[in-house]
């Protein structure tokens, strides 16, 4: 079929798809933008400059950065042993990594409450240590860690699978230590995927709501993250506050993912160019 010669049917399908995407995705985005600026830019800026909002944003950022750090280290490690190690139960480990995708965020928060809440299973261990998890920042951190776990692992598995093993063998033959091989041979090949995985994890962590609501309780000024702030503002009918925060969170998440996409695509282009040079 020549794609340039389109019948009426083809145009019909294109129109249907464009309309559907427009109504489903674009129109709501425009509605949010228009609604937030309904009372003027000044109102938005006042809302975003309020102490309560900045506290919530700061808590979200701290948690998200910490989650990204842990996930980068341990997520990559898990991806590594899934690809490179052979052991019994590997298939089970792989399916465990998928669990957070299919898990309701509310249930995630609830599971953590069962572990750390009043009469929690782990309370006999953590209480003597004086650590508070439920309705405190550590609980929010754990909930966010749970929901964002698959992103780094899933991003790194194909990249580690495609690593050029010959380079590692060559370095090993030449007497390089494992440490040197990792930093000089393996790490450079993982860098782009690491950045991409970190960005996805960060965006997911910032936007988490259900799990952190249940385990964190949304105590204003203490355990209120950005999403909980939006939820409470809506509840209290402070619409400008809710809409301004939503627009900031939404556009920030979209922006960082777009930038990561762009970096990834540029790198892929470089790689394919390098390969074509090699072939010549």
């Amino acid at each position: 079929m020549n794609p340039h010669k389109k019948g009426l049917g083809a145009w019909g399908i294109i129109l249907l798809v464009v309309l559907y995407t427009g109504v489903l995705i674009i129109v709501p985005i425009i509605a949010l933008i228009l609604g937030a600026f309904n009372e003027g830019l000044a109102a938005v800026l006042t809302a975003l400059g309020s102490r309560v909002f900045l506290d919530a944003l700061w808590l979200s950022l701290k948690i998200a950065l910490l989650v990204v750090a842990v996930q980068t280290l341990l997520g990559t490690l898990v991806a590594w042993i899934i690809v490179r190690h052979n052991f019994r139960g590997k298939a089970f480990l792989k399916s465990l990594v998928d669990v957070p995708f299919a898990m309701s965020p509310v249930v995630v928060g609830y599971m953590l409450l069962l572990l750390f809440g009043r009469n929690g299973f782990l309370n006999p261990i953590i209480e003597p240590l004086g650590i508070k998890v439920a309705f405190a920042a550590p609980g929010i951190f754990l909930a966010t860690l749970f929901v964002s776990l698959p992103f780094m692992v899933k991003e790194m598995i194909p990249v580690i699978e495609n690593l050029d093993r010959k380079q590692e063998y060559a370095a090993e033959t030449l007497g390089a230590s494992s440490w040197t091989i990792f930093w000089r041979v393996i790490f450079p090949q993982l860098r782009t995927a690491l950045i991409y995985g970190m960005t996805l994890t960060f965006a997911r962590a910032l936007g988490e709501f259900g799990a952190v609501l249940v385990i964190g309780g949304g105590i204003q000024g203490r355990t209120e993250t950005t999403t909980m702030y939006i939820f409470r503002s809506l509840d209290e009918r402070n619409f400008v506050e809710a809409y301004s925060a939503a627009i900031l969170l939404g556009s920030f998440s979209v922006m960082i993912v777009l930038i990561a996409d762009w970096v990834k695509r540029r790198e892929e282009k470089h790689q394919s160019r390098d390969e074509s040079v090699e072939r010549v």
Partner: protein, 278 residues
């Protein structure tokens, strides 16, 4: 690529064992332990109590609402996802790259923000929402259509992105032959293209269904949490946790986990058996 060095990997040296142990410990503590705890808590009073809890009127209606809104979303999403993937791969038109970029937006927009957007658009005080309510008596927010819309928004990429690569790699020789022999475009699509797309269509649809079962952020805002009317399973669990109804919370949680996991496993099975993409 099996080489002699690969075999050495099986005899792991101490530092490698340490790596493996820490990876396993991380996943075990983070994922396995919470799962075991909720399983234990849900079944503590026996299967009978679990069944009793999920068949209580409010819980049952919440689970059923979750199931049918997710099903309706999946049917619409399967159809429109297929049309969208086909359009993006097979047709050229102005704005195609923009359309392709828009498909991914739901993946990066937090689901709570999705809910806020839908309320601003279709809320009873907003222009469009009021218009639909007054002229056609259609209520979207704090009603079921809002739930389906929210689910459609968050799951739009799943089917499209599952089908796209398969369609891209599809050999068009057969289609050209059929066209030469005078087959109509619709016949070609139905007889040649569609059968090849069934596996990714099926696994993508199942994936979006499993994702929809647990959706909370977008739904809690558009649905408004009215028991027996707009309360979904995930929202029910929140209510049960807040009112310290531990039996109900654990029971409905287990049902949601059970449904979502089985559907996800089915999606993976379809993908592995028929959709394996070389």
């Amino acid at each position: 690529m099996e080489t002699s060095l690969d075999h050495n990997q099986n005899k792991a040296r101490p530092p490698e064992l340490l790596l493996r142990a820490s990876g396993l410990l991380y996943i075990g503590l983070m994922i396995l332990v919470p799962l075991i705890v909720i399983l234990q808590d849900g079944l503590r009073q026996g299967i009978g109590e679990l069944i009793h809890q999920v068949t209580l009127p409010i819980a049952r209606s919440a689970i059923l609402l979750t199931l049918w809104t997710a099903s309706l979303m999946t049917v619409i999403n399967a159809f429109m996802g297929l049309a969208t993937a086909y359009t993006l791969v097979r047709f050229d038109f102005p704005g195609k790259r923009v359309l392709n970029a828009i498909i991914d937006l739901p993946l990066s927009i937090p689901s709570l923000v999705t809910g806020v957007m839908l309320v601003m658009l279709y809320g009873p005080q907003e222009a469009i929402g009021r218009f639909l309510l007054e002229k056609f008596n259609i209520q979207i927010i704090f009603a079921k259509p809002g739930i389906v819309l929210a689910l459609l928004f968050i799951s739009f990429p799943f089917v499209v992105r599952n089908i796209q690569p398969v369609l891209q790699d599809l050999d068009q020789t057969q289609e050209r032959a059929a066209a030469t022999l005078g087959a109509k475009p619709w016949t070609i699509f139905r007889k040649i293209v569609l059968p090849a797309l069934i596996p990714p269509l099926l696994s993508g649809s199942l994936l979006s269904f499993s994702r929809a079962i647990g959706e909370f952020g977008a739904v809690v805002i558009v649905a408004g949490n009215i028991p027996l009317k707009t309360q979904t399973g995930a929202v029910y669990v929140l209510g049960a946790v807040e009112s310290e109804n531990r039996l109900g919370a654990s029971a409905v949680s287990l049902i949601l986990i059970g449904i979502a996991f089985s559907v996800l496993a089915l999606a993976n099975l379809v993908h592995k058996r028929w959709g394996a993409h070389k």
